[in-house]
Symmetry: C2
Subunit: 211 residues, 2 copies
């Protein structure tokens, strides 16, 4: 069962990172409590988690929306560049057949939506592919590290896959990574993933500049 606090967290995180709440906007427990029709307790809990992720920060008037800026994105990409390859390697070395099958399923999903050219669903499937790798890599520390970073790129990944060429390329790269993991070829999975994250970074940063 997913608690109200979790739901509030997910909703607020999504809305902050996607721009529903804009930078410097003040969020107070009381106001959110009224808006979302829940008591302050689960709101507090959600705000605390957002504060730990540094996408809001406390002020005397309430929590100020910070979100992420261009430097954050660049830094996050740089960090992912150093870790995602290792995560894929571990997934290749450690995942069992059931895990590989579930990775396959996210790939099929992404293929389907890429053909339908549905950017929002593509973005979700794309995310799910990466998050499944985090889950399969067999390290909570790795998963805990990469997941929040990945979520922070949400909005920009959406923009990135909204061009058909990038969406298709991303799918192809995922397919190759999947094959390497399914073959338990850690070396190859790592190399392919690094190249993939590099491409994703270039695609994201190119579009961020344009804004």
């Amino acid at each position: 069962m997913i608690s109200i606090a979790d739901q509030v967290f997910e909703e607020l995180e999504r809305d902050i990172l996607s721009g529903v709440y804009e930078r410097d906007e003040i969020l107070t427990e009381m106001k959110l409590s009224e808006q979302l029709h829940v008591s302050r307790t689960p709101i507090r809990e959600a705000l605390r988690r957002l504060e730990q992720e540094h996408i809001i920060e406390p002020t005397s008037k309430g929590m100020k929306v910070v979100g992420i800026n261009r430097e954050d994105i660049s830094d996050i990409c740089e960090i992912r560049l150093r870790l995602e390859g290792l995560a894929a390697r571990w997934a290749a070395e450690r995942a069992n057949e059931a895990g590989i099958r579930s990775l396959r399923e996210t790939l099929d999903l992404q293929e389907f939506y890429t053909q339908k050219q549905d950017p929002d669903s593509i973005k979700n499937a794309d995310s799910q592919f990466h998050q499944t790798i985090y889950a399969l890599c067999g390290s909570h520390s790795m998963q805990d590290t990469l997941e929040p970073l990945h979520r922070k790129l949400l909005k920009y990944r959406r923009v990135s896959v909204s061009t058909q060429s990038r969406a298709q390329k991303s799918l192809d790269e995922h397919r190759a990574i999947y094959e390497a993991i399914a073959a338990h070829d850690g070396e190859k999975a790592e190399k392919l993933t690094i190249a993939h994250v590099q491409n994703a970074r270039d695609s994201i940063l190119k579009r961020v500049i344009m804004q």
Copy 2:
């Protein structure tokens, strides 16, 4: 002002990672509330953070202490190996004079305690050196990523620096890293830090095996 919830979190994290609470022990909000003489609210908040770090996990009877195992340590070292160098590089490139001075101060502290051969204080100064670099690297994402990983090694770092030779070597390595950062030589800072983390890993893992 540091809140009660924060204090409870720090105390519980320390006690779990240093073995005061042992693996599989059950922690309930009510019991902790009585033991620590605070209400359930700040206890809950602390437990949530510990749960997010995966050092406790929910069961129907309460939160079960998980702590970290040998594989976790190895994985964390591997992750640090890929990130700490980058953090040092960024610190070298981005830190201002005040920041470099504060790094210098932690180094002096470590030197003092190393001469006094006080393992617990050495460990703290050693930690502080790394955490200062995280703070100076100018990236919240990097800081948020490395700090929890670093804290998880607490107990093992303590063991590691309790031999005088390792303590001295660590100090020398820190000094070299400091010089590189102070000279804004990112390349060198990164290279030296990677070597340092490698040594720290070897030192930690050697002792973990012996347990």
